[in-house]
């Protein structure tokens, strides 16, 4: 388990207070006793070699992990002081949105309906003007509005991969979450689309807390304020990105940053 000095509490307001979090698939733990605090309206990058539990970790933060067969979670995750493991997961997921590794717009829906999917799926009725406003606002936030404003009623699957991913970001933002979890959101994209998403991430932290999983060290360096390093299910180190990148306190973090594994 990561020892005390390597887990640095962030300064400023805290949104997530995670205490001794364990996540299992069947009997096998994927996340082992993670304790840390996530700062509000900052970008926190979660890094580590593949299979280190970083994706499982963020999937706990909106209780998506529990959907996997045999999955189980122990510990406490306080979201603004309330333990989300004791709240209805449906409520948690509306407050903590998610963008996935592979762009996954709903193929049966138009761009417009995709953005509003968080309302449509739940049967929430919106007035026309309100729906239009929400769509424009979310697409603008996701830096996609100018590219799709004339084709809102076409299928979302006709867009390029990068545009699809920004559509998914717009879809997540439309329900006005407090936190946006991003699970390697650029791993399926070309460098140009990746750069666009990275710009967007930095822009978005003004209004929403972002936790982004990445196996790309350079990306973590570009976008994040805080960084977490996971290894074999443990949180090895957590702290301000600048500090963690320049003077890592744990030997394993140092080795990872030097590219020795991963």
């Amino acid at each position: 388990m990561g020892n005390r000095e390597t887990i640095v509490d962030p300064r400023g307001p805290i949104i997530f207070d995670i205490r001794n979090l364990w996540a299992y698939y069947g009997e096998k733990p994927a996340v082992k006793g993670v304790t840390c605090k996530i700062p509000e309206k900052r970008v926190t990058a979660v890094m580590g070699p593949s299979g280190c539990g970083k994706t499982t970790f963020i999937r706990c933060l909106n209780r998506l992990h529990e959907l996997s067969p045999g999955a189980r979670v122990e510990g406490e995750i306080f979201l603004r002081g309330k333990n989300i493991l004791e709240i209805d997961p449906v409520v948690v997921r509306r407050r903590v949105g998610m963008v996935f590794q592979k762009p996954n717009p709903f193929p049966t829906m138009t761009i417009y309906d995709n953005v509003l999917a968080g309302y449509k799926l739940l049967g929430i009725k919106l007035r026309r003007e309100e729906a239009d406003r929400l769509v424009e606002e979310a697409l603008r936030k996701a830096a996609l509005w100018d590219e799709v404003k004339d084709s809102l009623h076409k299928r979302g699957t006709y867009l390029s991969g990068g545009q699809q991913q920004r559509l998914c970001i717009a879809r997540a933002l439309a329900v006005k979450p407090e936190v946006l979890l991003m699970d390697e959101p650029t791993s399926a994209l070309d460098p140009k689309s990746t750069a666009k998403i990275e710009e967007l991430v930095v822009e978005l932290k003004k209004s929403v807390t972002i936790v982004i999983v990445t196996h790309n060290i350079a990306q973590a360096g570009r976008v994040s304020d805080y960084a977490a390093f996971f290894y074999l299910g443990e949180l090895v180190e957590f702290g301000p990105t600048s500090q963690l990148f320049t003077v890592p306190r744990d030997k394993r973090t140092e080795e990872f940053l030097k590219g020795k594994f991963g």
Binding site: L67, R93, G97, M98, N104, F106, P107, L122
Partner: protein
């Protein structure tokens, strides 16, 4: 290489036998067409719209059977739909894997029960039930007829419809369902808003395949339809289907034109089921391309 090579021989054998099956289908079509020629020549298009089926006076119109077949088959489809949908959804989305496997096996077994047994079951249990309902409704309590045939067909096609719907729902990509869960949708909202729209064309294709089975089903229907070769006057009436009239009259048809008329009904049924099956395959093919 050459003919002596076992691999080569096996290859040619497989090719030949597969091709043979294609010729079999074409051959059946040609045989039916050949046998129908006298009737086709004698009645032409009137055969399709004629309401009178009178072998004694050599008047042959197949409309009552067409209507009987369509009413029982579509009736069965409508009756089976809620059950097929709910069990398909349950097996694909709700049931724990082991329960789903067990139940799927039972459902598949249902599909293997010989149709004469369904017919017997219908005679013993459905006929009294339908008769009771008919008495309550104040219509002639035949017990037999269109409603009974539709019911037994509904039970018989349920396994096909349910397992196709289950398979279609299982094909829905996991990422899409997760995206919906991530937006705070409940399980039912995910099924309604994502899985069913995604699988819709597959579900339609599955229902068409089930319809294809209902159209041609003979034994069980013949046992409970009442075998009256007149236009049904109400949904509770006795009737006959294309398959059941052939089964009933073929051995007794002494006149050539009667025989030919029955064969023409067979040709019609062959073409209709072929059409329905091809349509379903096309939909499934398009689904797989996506």
């Amino acid at each position: 290489m050459g003919w002596g090579d076992p691999d080569r021989i096996f290859y040619r054998l497989c090719w030949g036998l597969s091709l043979g099956m294609v010729f079999l289908v074409i051959g059946i079509g040609i045989t039916l067409f050949w046998g129908s020629l006298p009737s086709l020549k004698a009645f032409g298009w009137h055969f399709l719209v004629g309401r009178i089926w009178d072998p004694v006076n050599e008047k042959f119109g197949a409309l009552p059977f067409l209507v009987g077949t369509l009413i029982t088959s579509f009736g069965a489809l409508i009756l089976t739909l809620p059950f097929a949908l709910s069990s398909g959804i349950f097996l694909a989305e709700y049931a724990p894997p082991r329960v789903a496997d067990g139940l799927s096996t039972v459902i598949d077994l249902l599909a293997g029960i010989p149709s004469v047994i369904y017919g017997l079951w219908a005679l013993f249990y459905l006929v009294p039930l339908v008769r009771w309902v008919e008495m309550k409704l104040g219509v002639i309590p035949f017990g037999l007829g269109l409603p009974t045939a539709s019911l037994v067909l509904a039970v018989m096609i349920l396994p096909y419809a349910a397992s196709i719907i289950r398979e279609v729902l299982r094909m829905v990509p996991h990422e899409l369902k997760e995206a919906a869960y991530g937006l705070g949708a409940t399980r039912w909202e995910v099924i309604r808003g994502v899985s069913i729209p995604y699988g819709l064309s597959g579900i339609v294709a599955g229902l068409l395949l089930s319809l294809g089975r209902a159209l041609g089903e003979t034994m069980a229907v013949t046992m409970v339809i009442g075998n009256r070769s007149e236009m049904p006057r109400s949904p509770w009436d006795l009737a006959n289907t294309m398959a059941s009239v052939i089964a009933n009259e073929f051995t007794e048809a002494s006149k050539d034109i009667h025989l030919s008329a029955l064969i023409e009904i067979g040709l019609l049924l062959f073409l209709i089921t072929l059409g329905v099956n091809i349509l379903a395959r096309i939909i499934i093919l398009r689904l797989q391309v996506r």
